[in-house]
């Protein structure tokens, strides 16, 4: 018996060790875990229950399903955060935190149940600066203005409250969403930004008129605190107040780090969000278009936090794009390029329906990388909260979502109108409410993403405890049980509110409680910088976050494995600072502003590597041509490929001439750059029919003068045999005049690439010309060519002799030549769209043989767009840098989940039908929306008569196995841009750093920019000519990667490099005149930009 119990004990210990061990393992992997506590245990029974009837329904009130807010804060200063819930149609509830997740409903005695008016958001703030948090409650709905007056519950201590809104001037009768208290004028007291929304639908004809007028109840307001009384100074302060603003979130942050609090306001529908930059003089200016290049369309909740620990606040806005294929297919309608163009024209900016993460790159530059980060699709989303849930040092993301009726279901638009008709035929009265309540209701689960660093978020919603499908609205985080991790409070629709206990296996932490000066006792607006093991943790004291809610005032930092903070900097609202050193973790630290010292900090300024200077005043690529009108199922437009750039000293005066390629409608030009000015060079003439895809200066006739080869490309309205697709050769007449050669081989290819090489070993420069696309017949494989030079600049087409597969090599976008096998003859390396890098080995000047397998590993098929060679690791051979489509789109690709492009004339009507198939959510599905597919093929119209039938369709539902078997099939296995290390026996792929994956790369320039003796890289790209659904991919600003000479690269920010170019960079040149070195950037639709290297 004794023995037995001993065994039992030791085995218990053993199990304990095992658990500890597995936890440690787990902690590195997937450690976040929340547990929803039963209402019985917590005592929280609040339920935001809606009652749909003739009076109260979505038809009468547009925001019927938006849900209610949450406010969290320690109302009685007992060290425990209490909770306030706002109920739309039910009473508001206040719960006193008794500790250990026990709560007491004190609503009645506190007197804060509110009124019988549609209730929206709530915030806790010490409005009167007495050291006790008060509660501001917002009202809306269709009632009278009087009924909507917001309440301000001033804390009398001991859970007694009195509504003093009227007295303080804050009983505003607007249709309010949320009140945000902050000190906008740095005068030591709290002012109020009141976020409002309109309750009527605005006819889009009225947009322009409505925009001009301040709406008394729909427009947002700014109230200034004048010694305890609040004054509406909206107009004076430059706050926009039109009825177009359907405000759903307001978040405060010092976005530009100038010591004045700025604001982000998200707007539903057409009105763009506002990014109010605080001018420091009592006014704000909306600068959203200066900083963000595209934004969420139907913006809802939002958060601002430093998600990559670089000390800069990043901005995240929510929208409604679902994650899975089925809901996407039900949601996506036809793409309307004219409507989009009109939206831009009327000043509504680039708006797309998905969550947007605007990564703060400093100096006012932001890169939108929500898709690369993996957090762009969270369905109809309400609250976004960044906080470190597992204390690993990285802020994770929680998103609430769900809309009670599937409003945006396309079948509803297209087919529910039949209801009226059918009722009429049946001679029955139509009941619109019935129609609405017959709409489907799809509950969805909340999202939880673990921040894995490097702006990579992993969706762990299910394992983290958020698998339950429901409708969630406002939310807040708070360490409710004071155990050193943050718990969650969620307000659900038609369901009891959720209290989620954090049960993660977490790392170390530090919590801060700030005591400000009177007037702003909670030090709202303070900034925290904690440094630990070389890491920065940045937080701002602004509790209003997410949606209609405000969170804890206790600041929480996860430290990961570090057990202490090396130094802690608190920048108080009055800019005084407290600096603390060596603070041990896992404690709650109280810091008082009275201990702070005024500090003037010199901003760290390092001189950027380049600075902008004057460029040629020439736009050669302005064009509205829309290739999707010709081939609707392509993803990007092949017409917009320029400008190409090339340089040579044509007239031998010691200064370089620069060729700037034209595109259809605008002929290319050559400029001379002399004494800092740009002059059109007279010795060249081209025609406006051409689109100059490739330009190469080279001495082709051996007279020591540079000649010019131009490869004509484009898509436009070119026929596949269009004269305008002819490539051209211009020979230098010796005096710098370029003469077009009529006897240059005549072939019609939309050229994508060209390379000079000696193909036949006669020491004369020959040409490889790569075809990119057949206009109107994408993605059929175009011809590529070998043109042999007789030494006098006379070329003959010897493709049949030299190239394998009769020159059908793929959709070639780039070609370089080097002697790979060191046999003394030039070999070729090619990349292209939907193909793997190819190596063509020169067979002793007789022909080329495809030996790709010997040089590149498998699974490298990509959407390659550029290939550049340079010795990056200093070992004497040429390495490769290859530009791909990148990771910042809805597309994903891997060897296991390839993107496949099937094409054939499936419906036998004479046109190629390119059908893309890719991984969406859980499996492969056709990429096109139903409208796109039906527009391409008549036969699909009877196959998929509604959106529902198409929403689950796989490619095998579209086509028979035979049809697919006979179709051309191309694949993409990787979308990542790469550095290929030349190992002497082949190329070893290395992914370029993460920021280089945020945009498609069309141009690569190896150059030692920082003059450390090691080659660096400049990467130019972006893609604005995409399907509307894809949207602008514009995260690239001219990215500089510094090289260490060993093949490792480190990205620079725009403020470090000096490069901040907005637009689609298509080409780059390094131009040297005398001792000065310049960078020229060819940008589509824009003038070239020129930078001088320091």
């Amino acid at each position: 018996m004794i023995i037995f119990s001993r065994i039992l004990i030791s085995s218990l210990i053993f199990v304990g060790i095992l658990i500890g061990f597995s936890n440690a393992l787990f902690a590195q992997e997937n450690s976040t875990k929340f547990e929803k506590l039963p209402s019985k245990k917590t005592g929280i029974s609040f339920k935001n229950q809606l009652k749909e009837d003739g009076q109260n329904n979505i038809l009468r009130y547009e925001y019927f399903y938006n849900g209610g807010g949450v406010a969290v804060g320690d109302l009685n200063n007992d060290g425990l955060d209490d909770i306030f819930f706002a109920g739309n149609m039910t009473q508001n509830k206040l719960y006193k935190n008794l500790g250990e997740f026990k709560f007491e409903d004190v609503t009645r005695s506190a007197g804060v149940a509110g009124k019988n008016t549609w209730t929206t958001g709530a915030s806790m703030a010490d409005v009167n600066g007495d050291g006790l948090l008060d509660i501001y409650v917002c009202y809306s709905g269709k009632g009278s203005p009087e009924s909507r007056k917001n309440e301000l519950w001033i804390n009398q201590g001991d859970f007694k409250f009195l509504d003093k809104a009227e007295e303080l001037g804050l009983a505003d009768p607007s249709n309010s969403t949320q009140g945000l208290f902050f000190d906008f004028d740095n005068d030591g007291d709290l002012d109020l930004y009141l976020l409002n929304h309109h309750i009527q639908v605005i006819n889009e004809l009225e947009f322009d008129a409505v925009r001009q007028v301040r709406h008394p109840y729909a427009g947002d307001k700014l109230y200034r605190n004048d010694s305890g009384k609040f004054t509406d100074i909206s107009e004076l302060a430059g706050i926009k107040g039109s009825a177009l603003g359907f405000g759903l979130a307001v978040i405060a942050s010092d976005i530009n780090q100038d010591g004045w609090v700025d604001l982000l306001v998200t707007n539903d529908y057409i009105e763009p969000d506002y990014l109010y930059i605080n001018n420091g003089d009592g006014t704000f200016s909306d600068r959203i278009t200066n900083h963000f290049q595209h934004i969420s369309h139907f913006s809802m909740g939002a958060d601002i936090a430093d998600i990559n620990n670089d000390g800069l606040p990043d901005v995240f806005t929510l929208d409604m794009l679902p994650e899975d294929n089925e809901r996407q297919k039900l949601l996506y309608g036809p793409e309307n390029y004219e409507q989009y163009a009109l939206m831009i024209k009327r000043g509504f900016y680039h708006q797309n329906m998905r969550n947007m993460l605007q990564l703060n790159q400093g100096s006012g530059f932001f890169s939108e990388i929500g898709q690369m980060a993996g957090i762009s699709n969270t369905d109809w989303s309400w609250s976004a909260l960044f906080f470190d849930a597992n204390n690993d040092g990285q802020k994770d993301l929680f998103v609430t979502n769900g809309y009670y009726r599937d409003y945006t279901n396309r079948d509803f638009l297209k087919y529910k109108g039949d209801y009226y008709f059918k009722q009429a035929v049946a001679k029955e009265k139509a009941d619109t409410l019935h129609l609405v309540t017959s709409m489907t209701s799809t509950p969805v689960h909340d999202y939880f993403f673990e921040n894995k660093g490097e702006v990579k978020f992993q969706n762990t919603s299910l394992s983290a405890g958020f698998g339950e499908k429901n409708f969630s609205s406002g939310a807040a985080y708070s360490d409710l049980d004071n155990d050193g991790d943050l718990d969650l409070v969620v307000n659900h629709l038609n369901e009891t509110a959720g209290i989620f206990e954090n049960k993660s296996n977490s790392g170390n932490w530090l919590q801060l409680e700030l005591s400000g000066k009177s007037g702003n006792a909670y030090a709202v607006g303070s900034k925290i910088r904690a440094y630990s093991k070389g890491k920065i943790f940045f937080l701002e004291q602004h509790p209003v976050r997410g949606f209609q809610s405000s969170g804890t005032y206790r600041l929480h930092i996860g430290l990961g494995t570090a057990d202490q903070v090396d130094s802690l900097q608190i920048i108080w609202p009055d800019r005084s600072q407290s600096l603390l050193k060596s603070i041990s973790g896992n404690q709650l630290l109280k810091i008082d502003q009275t201990e702070a010292k005024p500090v003037s900090v010199d901003p760290i300024t390092s001189l950027p590597l380049v600075s902008k200077t004057l460029g040629p005043d020439f736009v050669s690529t302005q064009s509205n041509v829309n290739d999707f009108k010709r081939q609707p199922l392509m993803l990007t437009m092949p017409s917009h490929l320029g400008p190409s750039l090339a340089q040579a000293d044509l007239d031998g005066d010691g200064n370089s001439e620069v060729f700037i390629g034209g595109s259809k409608g605008t002929p290319g030009r050559i400029y001379s750059f002399k004494n800092g000015t740009w002059e059109v060079y007279r010795g060249f003439r081209s025609s406006s029919d051409f689109t100059d895809a490739v330009a190469i200066f080279h001495d082709f006739n051996g007279d020591q003068k540079p000649d010019l080869f131009i490869g004509s490309g484009g898509f436009h309205d070119y026929l596949s045999t269009d004269e305008s697709l002819r490539d051209r050769l211009y020979l230098n007449d010796g005096n710098g005049v370029l003469i077009a050669q009529g006897d240059f081989p005549k072939y019609m290819i939309s050229t994508g690439a060209a390379a000079v090489l000696d193909a036949n070993g006669d020491r004369f420069p020959d040409l490889f010309v790569g075809g990119k696309v057949i206009p109107g017949r994408y993605p059929e494989t175009p011809d590529s060519k070998i043109l042999i030079n007789d030494g006098k600049g006379k070329f003959t087409d010897q493709t049949a002799l030299f190239l394998p597969n009769k020159g059908k090599l793929g959709m070639i976008t780039a070609a370089v030549s080097q002697d790979l096998n060191e046999d003394g003859t030039d070999d070729l390396i090619l990349v292209g769209e939907f193909m793997a890098p190819s190596v063509l080995i020169n067979q002793g000047g007789k022909s080329f043989e495809n030996q790709s397998k010997g040089y590149f590993p498998l699974n490298l098929s990509g959407w390659w767009s550029n290939l550049t060679q340079a010795d990056m690791d200093g070992d004497g051979d040429l390495d490769l840098i290859a530009g791909n489509f990148g990771l910042n789109s809805q597309l994903v690709a891997s060897p296991e989940k390839p993107i496949r492009l099937y094409s054939a004339d499936f419906d036998q009507n004479g046109s190629i039908d390119p059908i893309l198939e890719c991984y969406i959510g859980d499996s492969h599905y056709p990429y096109p929306s139903r409208d796109e597919l039906l527009d391409q093929m008549v036969s699909m119209r009877s196959k998929f008569t509604d959106y529902a039938s198409y929403s689950k369709a796989k490619l095998t539902d579209l086509f028979t196995p035979e049809e697919l078997q006979n179709a051309q099939r191309l694949e993409i296995q990787t979308l990542e841009s790469m550095y290929f290390e030349n190992t002497g026996t082949g190329f070893k792929p290395h992914e370029l750093p993460r920021m280089a994956q945020a945009f498609p790369i069309y141009s690569i320039l190896p150059i030692d920019l920082n003059l450390d003796g090691n080659p660096d890289l400049i990467l130019g790209g972006n893609q604005s000519q995409t399907r509307i659904r894809i949207g602008k991919i514009d995260a690239g600003l001219g990215l500089v990667l510094t090289g260490d000479g060993k093949g490792n690269f480190k990205p620079l920010t725009p403020s470090e490099s000096g490069l901040g170019i907005k637009g689609d960079i298509k080409s780059m040149l390094n131009l040297k005149t005398g001792d000065t070195s310049f960078l020229i950037f060819g940008i589509n639709q824009q003038k070239p930009e020129v930078y001088q290297i320091r």
């Binding site: 979505i58 038809l59 547009e62 639908v201 006819n203 889009e204 004809l205 009225e206 322009d208 008129a209 529908y269 139907f298 036809p334 309307n336 004219e338 409507q339 009109l342 409003y407 945006t408 509803f412 638009l413 297209k414 087919y415 529910k416 109108g417 039949d418 009226y420 008709f421 009429a424 035929v425 129609l435 609405v436 509205n624 041509v625 829309n626 999707f628 009108k629 010709r630 609707p632 419906d907 036998q908 009507n909 004479g910 046109s911 527009d935 391409q936 093929m937 008549v938 036969s939 119209r941 009877s942 008569t945």
Partner: protein, 441 residues
């Protein structure tokens, strides 16, 4: 027992056979039944949101199938065979099928079979086909024994008609370019509120039935885009604007009566509902049925006039759509919003295609010409085509009165300029007259 009776009855009726339709089954109101069955085609089109030109094409081939069944069954008509001078005449091969008891039954069935194939949601007609068989058996129009023969007959004819439809250019349309707005002033741009894409910009490439050279039916030139005071365009622009602000109740009623917009989008925030109506062609098919019923046409004559009107509608649409995408003229709403009044809204929702000429004017005038030729001048009728869409009945003294009203309704509706209406009417009359004249010859 029941079976026996029905067998007896069937054999009793058999000798009355097929060849002469006149006077057969007097208790059956064939013209009414034709309209009722044809309405099932309309219902599917409404569900599918068939655009006006597409709807006309569907009416043409479905009614043609019914007509061809009667032709193949050697039924005689009061007027000449319009296929003899049509561009599909070569495809009208003799089918030499065994005679059937009820060409009427087979005609309707063939109409359904063609409808099933030429409409995306044609599968919805399966149910109607079953109901029709049941009706045929119940009313002793056919027997269980000869049902299959009827179905086979209908299918043979339907297949022939579908063969014609397959070669008319429809499936080639998706291989052609979509509309890109033209650079410059005065060109069509999608219109509020839904900014729907241009409908069938390449419809001019469709094969017509009767019109051999579309150039002959080109409308008179439109007023050039010119906003200077007193220019022909400016005067017309002002007229649309002023009219829109001062519409009498009667004019509003007229505009709505002839709206015939297959898909009007109503927005309410994120929610949008498409409100549906029959197309302009559907309206004239309705009038054809009403007229046929009014004079109690036989089945064969009902079929004849429906097929002729439907095929005329198709040709009219092709002619009109050619003009539309050659002129690419801007809609009044766009100019007015840009130049005169940013908040002006037409009474009707502007349909998604260029303005010149007015489709309703062209197709109504052409239809009226045919109907007047067939039923005579001053043929009064009560138009109840729009009752299902909440609009009252409307009485007309003649087809041309109705078509003129349909034409001018587009001005009241604020979606067309006067020259698009007047020149459209002339265009339509020319089309209608030329077809009717060929019949008379």
């Amino acid at each position: 027992m029941k079976k026996l009776i029905s067998l007896l009855l069937t054999s009793f009726f058999l000798p009355l056979g097929a060849i002469h339709l006149h006077g057969q089954n007097r208790e059956i109101d064939w013209s009414k039944i034709y309209s009722e069955q044809l309405f099932h085609i309309t219902e599917v089109m409404v569900t599918d949101v068939a655009s006006p030109p597409v709807a006309a094409r569907i009416y043409a081939y479905t009614n043609l199938a019914a007509y061809r069944v009667l032709q193949v069954a050697n039924v005689k008509f009061d007027h000449g065979d319009f296929l003899s001078f049509s561009q599909i005449n070569k495809q009208v091969a003799d089918l030499s099928l065994e005679p059937i008891q009820s060409p009427e039954f087979a005609a309707i069935f063939a109409l359904f079979l063609v409808g099933e194939k030429v409409m995306p949601s044609g599968y919805l007609l399966k149910e109607k086909q079953a109901a029709w068989q049941e009706w045929g058996l119940k009313n002793k129009v056919i027997t269980k024994k000869n049902l299959e023969q009827h179905l086979a007959f209908a299918k043979a004819v339907a297949d022939q008609v579908l063969g014609m439809a397959k070669s008319d250019g429809y499936i080639q349309l998706t291989a052609l370019n979509r509309y890109s707005p033209k650079e410059g002033e005065g060109f069509w741009y999608p219109t509020p509120p839904a900014y729907m894409a241009a409908v069938e910009p390449e419809w001019k490439t469709m094969r017509t039935f009767f019109l051999e050279n579309l150039e002959e039916y080109k409308p008179a030139p439109m007023a050039d885009f010119d906003l200077s005071q007193g220019s022909p365009f400016q005067i017309q622009l002002q007229e649309v604007y002023d009219k829109g602000k001062n519409l009498s109740e009667e004019e509003q009623l007229i505009a709505n009566f002839w709206d015939c917009n297959p898909f009007k989008v109503e927005f309410s925030g994120h929610m949008a509902i498409g409100v549906k109506k029959i197309s302009p062609g559907g309206h004239w098919i309705g009038i054809t049925g009403i007229s046929a019923q009014k004079v109690g046409l036989t089945f064969s004559e009902t079929t004849y006039i429906h097929a002729l009107v439907a095929m005329t509608l198709h040709d009219s649409f092709v002619s009109c759509w050619k003009a539309k995408y050659e002129t690419n003229r801007i809609r009044p709403e766009t100019v007015i919003n840009e130049k005169l009044d940013p908040t002006w809204k037409p009474l009707l929702q502007t349909p998604p295609f260029p303005e010149y000429t007015s489709g309703h004017s062209v197709i109504s005038s052409a239809s009226a010409e045919i109907l007047t030729g067939y039923f005579g001048e001053n043929f009064g009728f009560v138009d109840s085509s729009e009752v299902y869409f909440g609009l009252p009945e409307r009485a007309f003294d003649s087809f041309s009165q109705a078509s003129d009203e349909a034409a001018i309704s587009r001005l009241y509706g604020g979606i067309h300029f006067r020259d698009a209406i007047e020149n459209g009417v002339a265009q339509g009359k020319k089309i209608g007259k030329s077809i009717w004249q060929k019949l008379e010859e």
